[in-house]
Amino acid sequence: MQCPSCGATMNRHAEKPIKGHAEDTTHYDAAIGGTVAAIHTCPGCGKVATELEPVRSA
């Protein structure tokens, strides 16, 4: 992911489970029991961004 503030390549350093949201069929992961948000940080300016992980097949 590119930083929306400064354009640098962001580092994907965490995944945070967010329980529930079963209605989100694109992102709901039944194995986790929720969606998973990937956390990205920009090494240039410190900006934080998230993106929901798509569902992975077992």
């Binding site: 350093h13 940080t41 090494p43 934080v48």
Partner: protein, 191 residues
């Protein structure tokens, strides 16, 4: 390690009550942080945020508080102990953010009129910090008998707190540096 950006470590004053002695503790820690080279800090009074209380998370998020948490490399939470735990409004404010906290350091300063110095509120905070993605340090500052630690004008009466706070901040800054390096440079391992 990125040495260009100074570490950003705001101090959060976690109570809105009138005549709150935690204000003196927060201002003292804020002042000690200002003395650290390579650190920028600010004092955030949750009483100035005025978050709605009829919703949560993104529904009540304060843009300035969110931006401050995003900029932060670590946070200091100054919390009084009310009936053995933290103020509900402080929890409400902290819960308004999430991604902003991930893999950042947190230190808790406990304040109480009694002898335990907020030890119980600091313990109560540990599972909350973990769920928010914050990394707790093992040094605390306990302002017990706080009405005797500061005079009514906020002047520190017990110089031992200078040494205790120095240790607390050194650990917090170390953790903030390490976690910034990790956030900036160490990707999550993929199977």
């Amino acid at each position: 390690m990125n040495e260009i950006r100074p570490l950003d470590i705001p101090v959060i004053l976690g109570t809105t009550r009138k005549q709150r002695m935690s204000f003196h503790a927060a201002r003292f820690v804020y002042g000690e942080l200002q003395k650290r080279r390579g650190v920028v800090t600010s004092l955030i009074d949750i009483g100035e945020l005025a978050l709605p209380v009829d919703d949560a998370g993104e529904g009540v998020k304060d843009a300035r508080f969110s931006a401050a948490m995003e900029r932060a490399d670590a946070i200091v939470i100054v919390s009084p102990e009310y009936n053995h735990s933290f103020p509900g409004l402080l929890k409400h404010v902290l819960d308004s953010c999430l991604k902003e906290y991930i893999h950042k350091a947190a230190g808790v300063v406990g304040v109480s009129a009694g002898v335990f110095g907020g030890a119980r509120v600091i313990e109560h905070f540990q599972p909350v910090l973990r769920e928010l993605g914050l990394v707790s340090i093992f040094w605390d500052v306990n302002f017990g008998g706080v009405d005797k630690v500061f005079d009514p004008g906020g002047q520190l009466l017990d110089p031992a707190y200078i040494r205790r706070t120095e240790k607390f901040l050194s650990e917090l800054i170390w953790m903030a540096k390490v976690l910034r390096y990790g956030r900036d440079n160490v990707p999550l391992d993929k199977e």
